[in-house]
């Protein structure tokens, strides 16, 4: 199971539309979840709409939260999307057997059996979550909370019986108009990772769409970066994608 979790606080303003990019992800079998972080004010109507649409196109969930709820939301969304992904697959199977894919249409006893399978798969199947962090200037004061949320997510994922990996990216890149930078390659733990975001230079642009495309590309080239992974124990701070 593959997920992209986008954490942002506003609107994209450069390059490909993030909604189109999210639809690309969805067609590659990657669910896109979006968390919009608010600070006292809000993300604006435009931001809220975009966040909602990205998640819809990406077959994931979207939430607007304040900083204090961030960890809990990230953890809950990831879990919920795992169930949803499996549910979709199970429903496809059900459709072939029953002609109707809706779990709700089953009588409670049968429903119980199906849900047992969903729960079991949700707990045991492999899971990859690529976190994509908006590091534009306005996000700077929120990065500590984002880092906490990532650590908290790792803790929850480690409790699963299946293998769980996360990778972390931020955008925009520092120089030369890079769209996206990898902070952490696939890893199953964060032991010994001092800071996920070492001194970031916050850029002015928000290329959300291009950044999503980069992460899809990262997923597609499954072995990307894996050769050097052994040497660095899964961490490649500041590696430019």
């Amino acid at each position: 199971m593959k997920q992209i979790l986008l954490i942002t606080d506003g609107c994209s303003n450069v390059g490909l539309s993030p909604v189109v990019a999210a639809a690309h992800a969805s067609s590659e079998g990657i669910a896109v979840n979006v968390v919009g972080v608010l600070d006292h004010g809000d993300v604006g109507e435009l931001g809220a709409t975009e966040i909602d649409e990205i998640a819809r196109a990406g077959g994931g969930l979207s939430r607007l939260v304040n900083m204090r709820q961030l960890s809990q939301t990230v953890q809950m969304m990831t879990r919920k999307t795992v169930v949803q992904t499996i549910q979709l697959a199970v429903q496809k199977e059900l459709k072939q057997v029953l002609g109707n894919g809706a779990i709700e249409a089953l009588p409670p006893d049968k429903r119980g059996e199906v849900v047992r399978v969903i729960d079991e798969l949700g707990e045991t199947s492999g899971l990859q979550v690529a976190l994509l962090i908006d590091a534009s200037a306005s996000m700077k004061p929120k990065l500590a909370a984002v880092e906490e949320a990532i650590r908290d997510l790792m803790l929850s994922l480690q409790a699963r019986q299946g293998k769980s990996e996360i990778a972390v990216f931020h955008f925009p890149g520092t120089k030369h108009g890079d769209d996206c930078v990898m902070d952490l390659n696939w890893t199953t733990h964060l032991n010994g990772v001092q800071a996920i975001f070492p001194k970031l230079q916050m850029g002015g642009t928000t290329p959300t769409g291009p950044a999503i495309m980069h992460v899809i590309d990262f997923y597609r080239r499954g072995d990307y970066g894996r050769q050097s992974r052994d040497e660095t124990d899964g961490m490649m701070s500041g590696y430019v994608v």
């Binding site: 969930l61 809990q72 709700e104 009588p107 849900v115 047992r116 729960d119 929850s156 409790a159 019986q161």
Partner: protein
């Protein structure tokens, strides 16, 4: 997501199950959990609790746990799952629900406020007893918190909201941050009996020092959270000091399960200081100190005048 939950059953509404046609009359809202709302309902002059959810998979997952628990129950246990069905909400949509035993009781915090803090050691013991039954059958309660414990007369305890109940070895299905040992950097979120004992210990602190606990969560940086800070609160509280050693062990995961924890707790109850009524309130202490100063001053004057 579960939080945008709209079904709202009015008092007097009669709910009819889609599959088994059971009829229930809604009396009032009892509470709200992560997976749905719980109502007090009546059927054939008996009271039940009805939990209605918005997501069929989420609620069914909870029902599955309740059903496996019910299967394991030996004689002498009350079964608590009576009916599982779907209902048509006021908006015409279908919502899954289940019917369980209605538990009469007040929340833990209210009970102690009303009946007095001297009930705390016994209520704690009874709660550990409830947990140990779950643990013996291979379950972990998961989302143990003040809100999920009801107390009836004479300190009888019932756990409510089984949405967090998890088979040992799997990842905790539902938890609340301040009760979660992962949040305090004291261990994993994999279900084991020690997980509940950690939450139980936080619950003890939450009951006696809710403000200081809340303050702590605001002050500490995530990486600096640890059980040491929790123990410090416990040691500074008169009612908790006698159990501070027990709490330390629970935080450190030194009780294998609730049974072992209950045995240690029981031994504490027979020590005198556990039952010592809380000492003088603060204002009385101030008054006493003031009186002492006055006394000293007048004695001084008296002595000086005599010389």
């Amino acid at each position: 997501m579960a939080t945008s939950f709209k079904v709202d059953l009015r008092r007097g509404t009669v709910v009819t199950g889609k599959w088994k046609h059971g009829r229930y009359r809604v009396e009032r809202l009892l509470g709200e959990g992560a997976n749905g709302k719980v109502y007090l309902v009546q059927r054939d002059r008996s009271w039940f609790a009805l939990k209605v959810g918005s997501d069929a998979v989420d609620l069914q997952s909870e029902i599955n746990v309740l059903q496996s628990m019910a299967k394991q129950k030996q004689q002498g246990h009350d079964s608590f799952l009576y009916d599982v069905d779907d209902l048509y909400g006021p908006d015409g949509r279908e919502y899954p629900f289940y019917i369980m035993r209605y538990i009469l009781g007040t929340t833990l915090a209210d009970y102690l406020k009303r009946q007095g803090p001297e009930w705390f050691p016994l209520v704690g013991l009874n709660l550990l007893g409830k947990l140990s039954k779950l643990h013996q059958e291979g379950w972990v309660f998961g989302d143990l918190k003040v809100e999920n414990v009801l107390v009836a007369d004479y300190g009888h305890v019932e756990l409510v909201d089984y949405g967090g109940v998890t088979a040992a070895g799997k990842s905790i299905r539902q938890f609340t941050e301040i009760y979660d040992r992962g949040y305090w950097n004291e261990g994993s979120r994999q279900a084991d009996p020690r997980y509940d004992l950690f939450s139980f210990a936080v619950l003890c602190i939450q009951l006696h020092e809710p403000k200081r606990l809340h303050q702590l969560t605001k002050e500490l940086l995530p990486q600096n959270r640890s059980a040491d800070d929790l123990i410090r609160i416990a040691e500074a509280n008169l009612a908790l000091r006698p159990v501070a050693g027990w709490l330390r062990k629970a935080f450190a995961g030194q009780f294998a399960d609730a049974l072992e924890g209950a045995d240690a707790w029981r031994q504490l109850m027979h020590r005198r200081d556990t039952h010592r009524t809380p000492g003088m309130p603060g204002w009385l202490k101030g008054l006493a100190a003031g009186t002492a100063v006055l006394l000293a001053t007048s004695a001084f004057w008296l002595l000086r005048n005599m010389m």
